[in-house]
């Protein structure tokens, strides 16, 4: 069970800052998040694919969604999920 931290609109939409959910891979974790919090689906996915510019970090390292979704997840991992955000 990895620690998942939610940010920006994902917090407002789910009412949570942090979750712990099971999952062997990032893809699985994301699937579990959507099952538990269906309100987040529209912010994260577009036609089954991860929305462009959703930012996934694992222990601070940004994942390339094209290749990183199969990355395996361990108990010590901290996953960060940011919806598309911007600033100066």
């Amino acid at each position: 069970m990895a620690l998942i931290k939610l940010y920006a609109i994902l917090r407002t939409a789910s009412g949570k800052k942090e979750l712990t959910l099971p999952g062997e891979s990032i893809q699985e974790v994301l699937g579990n998040i959507c099952r538990e919090y269906p309100g987040l689906v529209r912010f994260l996915f577009e036609e089954e694919k991860l929305r462009p510019r959703v930012i996934l970090t694992v222990n601070g390292q940004t994942l390339d969604p094209a290749t990183g979704l199969n990355q395996s997840v361990s108990e010590q991992d901290q996953i960060g999920i940011f919806p598309p955000v911007a600033g100066g």
């Binding site: 931290k5 940010y7 920006a8 609109i9 917090r11 407002t12 800052k17 929305r51 462009p52 510019r53 930012i55 970090t57 222990n59 601070g60 390292q61 940004t62 390339d64 960060g80 940011f82 919806p83 598309p84 955000v85 911007a86 600033g87 100066g88």
Partner: protein
């Protein structure tokens, strides 16, 4: 040609003379407006060796052909001068309403020269300009000055300096509409040195458009694009720029405690999410902008005030080791009211904190002392005690007390929030920005962190220079139109080029518009070289080049500047000393300069 106001207003405060003459339209075609026009005029008007705080320095306010058209974000305007903080070219741009009103007066450019004998303010009503006595305003805070001079949202707008600028702090800002700033590089001190308290504008002119059909189409498409982008339609309006705090911290690129660390344990407490839950009242916007990134926050001490922005929250937050959001909102308000650049002010305080903790300076300042922010800012504005040294900025402060390496600045300008040990491209950008360490002159945040347009490896070094150069050129172009860079988070450059074409009637291909940016960049470079800057000044603080980042995902990294810089000079068409070659200057039609 349409779009441009074709007149320059030239005021000499020494003699009191007020002149108007035509804008050189060949120059306008090449440099467009805003930052571009500003640097071109500054090149002629302020030669090498001029003391920025002397009457020989000049303030050049510019708008552009798009300003005031009501195209999305067409509210911005620019000031160009020689920086009292860095000695480089200074251009700064600001939003709000003043720029739009300035365009309505009928002028493209306002040049202010010399020095008034006693405090004055300038009032421009359509094409009529007058110099008035301002002795009853000198010493007043920005908010008081702004309301006394009749600030009225869409109809009459005030630009002024506060006590910081009056007292010639080198990190003083020029404030417009009460809470918007022309800040980096200390233009407030230049204005203060001229005994110029304020400039008030009131106008009724309208900007004509050459091709109304095409212009209407561009506005419609831009509306669709901004609404479709989650950045401009959700993230910014809902959370403001402070939404960056958690993300930048998460990847280990949040400079902390004067860049001693690259992650801040208090990031969550000062994040956009926390602001939304606590002190945020509502969002707001500049004129003609649908993005609404402005925050309106409320605390007991300040009441309802504008801000804070990400950089400000970082500067008084992580950089000072402070996790008290309320204190930060108050500090931001004080900066607006006294007239300070928030990044430089916060980072200078952070520098003073480290100097103090290490025993270079005898003061109470310590990281985490949120209670000292407000009194320190007051001391800086009025030059009391250590505040007198701090008002000079972190470089002069640290040098005075024997530790120049503890100023986190480039060419004297304090660095922004991004610790470049976690973003190599950003490091190259900060080292090469023409006005000193500046992220707003080509921010690599998009490519290295946000995935906009696509995520590239932030630790990669080879090939970074091409991205940095494109970003620098493109943002210089946007600064010359003059538009807001947040518009470019949803809208591609090709739309801006077509809008510029539709407004002016002059065909600017996308590449032509970006070339305007490249031209501006190279001229700024030439200006700095003429002032005596060399490639040795394209560097970063020693800490970032030699002390490995201690925290999290960025741990162990330093900025590998040298290979990036070498590649950058070649890719820009400059020689190995970073001097634009004659061939490059000719290509950009700069050869006579």
């Amino acid at each position: 040609m349409t779009g441009w106001n074709e007149k320059i207003l030239d005021i000499d405060l020494t003699t009191g003379s007020i002149k108007t003459y035509p804008l050189d339209m060949t120059m306008a075609r090449l440099f467009v407006g805003g930052r571009g026009l500003g640097v071109r005029l500054l090149w002629d008007l302020v030669g090498p060796g001029v003391d920025p705080l002397s009457p020989e320095n000049v303030l050049i306010f510019t708008n552009g052909p798009l300003t005031g058209t009501a195209y999305q974000t067409s509210n911005r305007f620019s000031v160009s001068t020689k920086s009292p903080l860095t000695g480089t070219i200074l251009d700064a741009n600001s939003g709000g309403f003043w720029g739009m009103q300035f365009k309505r007066t009928g002028y493209a450019v306002l040049i202010v020269r010399g020095k008034a004998e006693k405090p004055v303010y300038i009032e421009i009503k359509d094409e009529k300009a007058e110099i008035h006595d301002a002795s009853h305003l000198w010493g007043l805070h920005v908010s008081e000055t702004t309301s006394r001079l009749g600030q009225d949202r869409n109809r009459r707008n005030v630009l002024c300096v506060g006590p910081a600028g009056e007292n010639l702090s080198r990190i003083a800002a020029i404030m417009n509409d009460g809470q918007r700033a022309l800040a980096r590089g200390g233009p407030g001190a230049v204005m203060g040195s001229k005994n110029l308290k304020a400039i008030v504008v009131e106008g009724s002119g309208k900007t004509e458009v050459a091709d109304p059909e095409q212009y209407k189409f561009m506005t419609y498409e831009t509306k669709k694009l901004l609404a479709a982008s989650p950045l401009t339609s959700q993230a910014l309006p809902e959370f403001g720029t402070v939404v960056m705090m958690n993300l930048v911290n998460n990847v280990g690129a949040l400079a902390t405690r004067n860049h001693q660390h690259n992650m801040f344990e208090g990031a969550e407490a000062i994040s956009g999410e926390t602001l939304s839950e606590t002190y945020l009242v509502k969002s707001d916007a500049c004129w003609a902008c649908p993005i609404h990134c402005t925050r309106i926050s409320k605390t007991e001490k300040t009441g309802e005030v504008e801000g804070p922005e990400f950089q400000t929250t970082w500067a008084f937050g992580a950089q000072c080791g402070i996790a008290d959001l309320e204190a930060i909102i108050e500090a931001n308000f004080l900066c607006n009211d006294l007239g300070f650049d928030t990044i430089s002010a916060g980072s200078t305080i952070g520098c003073a904190m480290e100097l103090s903790e290490r025993g270079y300076v005898d003061s109470d300042l310590r990281f985490g002392r949120a209670d000292l922010l407000a009194p320190t800012l007051e001391d800086m504005a009025y030059r009391r005690g250590l505040g007198a040294d701090m008002a000079e900025g972190s470089w002069r402060l640290a040098t005075t007390y024997g530790a120049p390496e503890l100023s986190m600045s480039v060419k004297g300008l304090e660095m922004p929030a991004y610790d470049p040990r976690g973003m190599q491209g950003q490091g190259l950008l900060l080292a090469t920005s023409n006005r000193g360490a500046c992220h707003m002159r080509g921010n690599m945040l998009g490519l290295e962190v946000l995935g906009l347009p696509k995520l590239i490896d932030r630790f990669q070094v080879q090939g970074k220079s091409s991205y940095v150069i494109l970003n620098q050129n493109s943002s210089a172009a946007i600064d010359s139109l003059v538009l807001c860079k947040f518009a470019s988070m949803g809208v591609a450059d090709e739309y801006f080029a077509r809008t510029l074409t539709a407004v002016t009637g002059i065909p600017y291909a996308t590449g032509d518009m970006i070339r305007v940016g490249e031209r501006v960049w190279n001229l700024e470079r030439m200006y700095n070289l003429r002032e005596g800057f060399t490639c040795k000044d394209d560097t970063l603080p020693t800490r970032l080049l030699h002390e490995p980042a201690p925290d999290g995902p960025t741990k162990g990294w330093v900025v590998q500047l040298e290979p990036m810089l070498k590649e950058y000079y070649r890719a820009r068409g400059w020689d190995s000393n970073g001097v634009p070659t004659p061939k490059k200057l000719a290509e950009l039609e700069l050869q006579e300069l």
